[in-house]
Amino acid sequence: MKTAVTAGLFAATCLTLPAHADALDDIISSGTLRCAVVLDFPPMGSRDESNTPIGFDVDYCNDLAAALGVEAEIVETPFPERIPALMSGRVDVGVASTSDTLERAKTVGMTIPYFAFQMAVTANDASGIKSFEDMKGKTVGATAGTYEAIALEAQVQEWGEGTFRPYQTQADVFLALSQGQLDATVSTSTVAQANVKTGNFPGISVVGQAPFDTDYVALFAMREEYGLLNFLNLFINQQVRTGRYAELYEKWVGGDLPDLTVGGTYR
């Protein structure tokens, strides 16, 4: 009798425990980590000739899955659909070069920065634009929903002349730029160099830096999932500490490794 009660209590304890599982538990027990990754954003995310997702963000998701001991699943997510994908439960984590603005942090949980972008100006050669200031009064554009699009639109409003156009994908921005529909664009310097290098978009060149603040990007997850967010923060720390961040940067971008810390303050 006593054994039966103990066994019953034991069984009940085992059965009720999963009810308190948080997102971190769910990911580990499901055996799959689903990452939202933007795949038209080389070199962070794109597809190779055989249509396999590749890029910094893809590798980062794979590392994260390995750290969790689960399989990684890359869920292709365009920029504007990152939040719907997370909120509707289609993905667990966003590894999608997401700028950590305060406005957005009211909605989703942002980790510490895992990457940092410098902004570059790319111009159509026929436009005569040689610097950021030359963009005043011209038709400029950027990928809708990105940090640089928000900053550039504000800049155009401040200049009070010229036109701003948001396109839905990075590819459309560079297509429009190459056709001369846009005179110039501001994008992350990594994207600018990658796109100019492909040769798919003739007649454009990177002409200089844009004086916007460094664009720190974070991983994101549900705002209330502190267990998961804590794990992600430590994971990012470990990536830097173990040299994996530098290794991935060299592999996909190359050049000076961006510092992920901000001097003079704690996160």
Binding site: I83, M87, I150, D172, A176
Partner: protein, 221 residues
Amino acid sequence: MFNYTFRWNQAFNALPRLLEGALVTLEIALLSMLIGIVIAILLTGCRLSGNRVLSAIARTWVEVARNTPALFQIYMAHFGLGAFGIHLSPYTSLLAGIAFNNAGYLAENFRGALKAIPDTQTRAGRSLGMPPIQAFRLIVMPQMLRIAFLPATNQMVWAILMTSLGVTVGMNTDLAGITQELNARSFRTFEFFAMAAVIYYLIAKAVTLAARALAWRMFRY
């Protein structure tokens, strides 16, 4: 699991901007209908003209407009023409794409309406001494427009909804464009999209009701 706290006050603060966008949406839809109706009448005329070349052009237009996605038509107006150095602004590309689509569908509408008008009407007009063009203009066309009116309001509703495709060509002043921008800035996706959906619904409903009232006044026997 849908884990999201709605924050409507933030969305309501943006209502004036959304309504500004709604005006642009309505403006594009109306203009595209006006242009579409004029072109559709020309296309119908071309088909009836008996001229091989004109009727082939009209038939091709209708075929392409009705059998390809509106998204493709708008994208082509912007990037397709852009490849040939013809640069239309997002506003013009969107308007051109929708007008092209409208013209194709309305031409079919008008053709159907024409079929509903007995030949004897034209013949009666001709026997009164009217030249063919005059018989068409004074006798057939008024009846054709009357029959085609309500189906055409359908196309107007469709035109309103199609304006939302403008975001693919960089349109940022219409309802869909403003919604996208607000969403990118704040990530309050569901509030802004829900509000945009309601506004689209109200515009479309208002247009349908207005058209019905207009038809009731205009077409009384």
